[in-house]
């Protein structure tokens, strides 16, 4: 098995294990993965430009992180494996796909810190009924067209 295939296999295994934990065990799995320093992770999240795709709060951008159910952030092991995964995937064109992060560029301790910060993200948006602008937009959607 090639190095790349090994990594893919490891990732898939990790994801499968995570998915198996879904439901009542998910919270425990999440807590097990959070071992870093979230405050340090916040600075790393900014310094390494993670906010670029995931938003400063994980709620916006091209790849938001909250409420997605992504197994990739279910535990730190899976998260680390994912960051390390695609070291030989040179792009032919500019891409906004996730960069990879070899250990030489982002050590395991730093990954744990970033992970700890990412896991602080929470979906705390108010309901539509509490947002007047969105309520107004919904109301207007039903109005008659006027040429």
């Amino acid at each position: 098995m090639s190095h790349r295939a090994h990594i893919v296999s490891a990732l898939l295994g990790s994801i499968a294990a995570t998915v198996a934990l879904a439901g009542g065990s998910l919270v425990a799995a999440q807590e097990r993965g959070v071992a870093g320093d979230a405050a340090a992770g916040k600075q790393l999240y900014y310094d390494h430009g993670c906010y670029g795709c995931h938003g400063f709060n994980g709620e916006t951008g091209a790849r938001d992180l909250v409420a997605t159910g992504s197994p990739i952030i279910a535990d730190v092991a899976t998260f680390t494996t994912y960051l390390r995964l695609r070291a030989d995937a040179a792009p032919l064109l500019p891409s906004t796909r996730m960069p990879n992060y070899p250990e030489s560029a982002l050590g395991d301790a730093q990954v744990r810190d970033i992970y700890a910060y990412v896991r602080t993200f929470a979906l705390d948006a108010p309901g539509i009924e509490d947002i007047p602008a969105l309520e107004a937009i919904l109301d207007a959607a039903g109005r008659e067209y006027v040429p």
Binding site: T96, P99, Y101, L123, A125, A140, A141
Partner: protein, 641 residues
């Protein structure tokens, strides 16, 4: 290349000056010495333009006294007639920053006519790129040309980026470039239009006054005839200054734009009437009249329609009851108007069809290659049509409408009414469902700080939904949330992208759209990306100076954010980490204060706002200010996308 070669110029520059020289002694000041103008031969044998003389530099810097004129040499300058031609064409504005090569024409625009400086009005720009961007924004909004005026070779080169974008967009606009052979040689060329010929539709450099008047009219005709695009007339200073005598401006003849023939129109009309569930796919038409005709046809036959109004101007109203998939997607006949797929498509030529003749240097601009990988900009794939007519759809619509009105029976009218009602109900239901999903999506990150781009669009919409508004800025870098939340019902609701995806377009294009809006009681929205703003910030002064109704909301993510992501990825796949990807891609240290930038240019504004709870009140103030006829800026610190 189209270039006038009329050799009937009665006098050369110096001969003219001699003949007109009632104040000859003073006028000598403006005539360069022969030595100063002698071409300089470089060591390698090439001939370089001469450096400007001290007199020339003094004149350019304004350090000369006005000539003591004993009497008027010219009573009816040629540039008055040029201005009259622009008036007759209905040109509302000429945007430019001043240049000595067109001072004759500028003087006529601001002084000739009653009232002077009206139709056209001279708009003071701070950069030629802004002048052409303004004409681009105006042309997209109105479907007709505005003028930009450029100073010699240097003005054309400043404008070149904006011309390139307008060409890609197929925007009709008219450019005038002054040429003053014999003054600063570096500002002159034998064939000045060659600088931008690859991406202009048509150009001329007339050699007589009458030829110039004809060229102005032809340039206008060419600009609005498919494939629509920017055109350029190079005007010698001598023609602007010369005595017109009893010459009169020629009457304008509108272009004859080819559409389908009557037989084809009848067949299409019959096919629409025979279909049980006809469909009309609508792309970008040329003018508001084309949109009106498309609506008329769809209503006559009860066809559900698609629209391109969420991508750019001049398409079918988004909330028209017939817009949407309709009650059934089992369409048995589809007519395509400047788009496909369709059983019968009417698709006029795009500017890509010009690349073979206009790109004389064979640069081969990627998106304009007729045989390029994408088939050229605006070139729909042939496979998307069963039958295709390569003529203008808008010019074809009146014939089809007439045929439908002639052919439709009383029984068919009842069927059409019932079908239209079914479509309207289905489309309304689908639209409300889509908005319900959209607001659920936009709710995410509502309270995030910095402010989410979705919240900007969502908070603004209720404040302007009952206004006559125009979103003139591209939205591709700010999330495009208006597409899911706003209703694009006017030909100018959204003016689309930059054209060639180049930066520096947004503020200028919005300024041009605001020029159109000012006379029509509209309200222009500019969701302005920060990277783009810093190319041509002088537009803010133009907006303040001319009292343009333009609300600018900075999408201030403090970066050229797409490039930041690209560099992160590149560093990442090379295993070098992403912690230095901000170098050269971000706008930090120091942060740029756009409120102060606006203030410096004389525009009211506020910010920076990073607390989303402050956004609504700021937008209310901005909307109120713009409704009073003044521009306003709100600097919002935003999430990256």
């Amino acid at each position: 290349m189209t270039k006038e070669t009329d050799q009937r110029l009665p006098l050369d520059r110096r001969g003219f000056l001699k003949g007109a020289a009632t104040g000859a002694a003073a006028m000598v000041v403006s005539v360069p010495s022969a030595d100063a103008q002698a071409p300089q031969r470089a060591p390698n044998g090439t001939v370089a333009a001469a450096a400007p003389s001290a007199e020339q530099l003094a004149r350019d810097a304004g350090n000369v006294r006005p000539p003591a004129v004993a009497g008027r040499a010219v009573n009816r300058p040629g540039s008055d007639l040029m201005t009259q031609v622009l008036k007759d064409l209905g040109v509302e504005y000429v945007a430019g920053n001043p240049g000595s090569s067109f001072e004759g024409l500028q003087e006529s625009i601001v002084n000739y006519g009653d009232p002077p400086n009206a139709m056209p009005e001279f708009i003071t720009a701070l950069h030629e790129e802004s002048s052409v961007d303004m004409a681009n924004g105006y042309g997209k909004a109105e479907g007709k040309p505005m003028c930009a005026i450029l100073h010699g070779t240097i003005g054309i080169q400043h404008a070149s980026m904006a011309i390139y974008q307008a060409f890609y967009s197929g925007t009709p606009l008219l450019m005038l470039a002054g040429r003053d052979d014999g003054f600063i040689q570096a500002h002159t060329a034998n064939d000045m239009a060659a600088l931008v010929r690859s991406y202009t539709k048509w150009d001329a450099q007339p050699t007589t006054l009458s030829g110039c008047l004809d060229a102005l009219q032809e340039a206008y005709r060419q600009a609005i005839t498919p494939p629509t695009g920017p055109t350029l007339v190079v005007i010698d200073m001598e023609l602007q200054k010369e005595e017109a005598g009893d010459l009169v401006a020629p009457a304008y003849r509108p272009p004859a734009i080819a559409g389908i023939d009557a037989t084809t129109a009848r067949e299409i009309a019959q096919a629409l009437l025979d279909a049980e569930n006809p469909r009309i796919a609508v792309g970008r038409l040329r003018t508001p009249e084309g949109v009106r005709r498309a609506v008329e046809l769809a209503e006559l036959v009860g066809a559900s329609t698609s629209t391109a109004a969420l991508q750019g101007p001049m398409s079918f109203p988004q909330r028209h009851p017939l817009t949407g998939p309709g009650a059934s997607t089992a369409y048995d006949f589809t007519l395509g108007l400047e788009t496909g797929p369709a059983d019968v498509g009417i698709v006029g030529p795009g500017v890509y069809t010009l690349s073979g003749t206009r790109d004389a240097m064979q640069v081969g601009f990627g998106g304009l290659r007729a045989n390029g990988p994408a088939g050229g900009i605006g070139a729909p794939a042939a496979a998307t049509f069963t039958t295709r007519f390569d003529v203008d759809a808008e010019a074809s619509l009146p014939l089809i409408v007439d045929e439908v009105q002639r052919l439709v029976t009383r029984a068919e009218r009842r069927t059409i009414e019932e079908r239209s009602a079914r479509h309207a109900a289905a489309n309304r239901e689908a639209y409300v469902a889509s908005v319900r999903q959209a607001v659920e999506d936009k709710r995410i990150g509502w309270d995030a700080s910095p402010v989410s781009t979705a919240r900007i669009y969502a908070e603004l919409w209720p404040l302007i939904m009952n206004e006559d508004w125009c979103l003139a800025s591209p939205s591709n870098f700010s999330g495009g949330h208006h597409r899911e939340l706003w209703e694009h019902n006017r030909p100018y609701s959204y003016l689309g992208g930059q054209g060639a995806a180049g930066m520096g377009y947004g503020a200028g294009a919005c300024g041009g759209a605001a020029l159109a809006a000012k006379r029509r009681g509209r309200f222009v929205v500019n969701v302005q990306t920060d990277g783009d703003m810093n190319y041509t910030p002088g537009v803010l002064w133009t907006a303040a100076h001319h009292r343009l109704p333009m609300l600018t909301i900075m999408h201030n993510n403090r970066a050229w954010h797409q490039e930041l992501m690209f560099l992160e990825f590149m560093a990442g796949i090379r295993g070098r980490g992403t912690d230095r990807a901000h170098i050269g891609t971000t706008l930090r240290d120091p942060f740029i204060d756009y409120k102060k930038m606006a203030e410096a240019y004389g525009m009211a504004g506020e910010g920076p706002i990073s607390d989303p709870r402050e956004l609504r009140a700021a937008l209310e103030r901005g909307v109120a200010t713009v409704k009073r006829g003044e521009p306003y800026m709100i600097d919002v610190i935003t999430q990256p996308r």
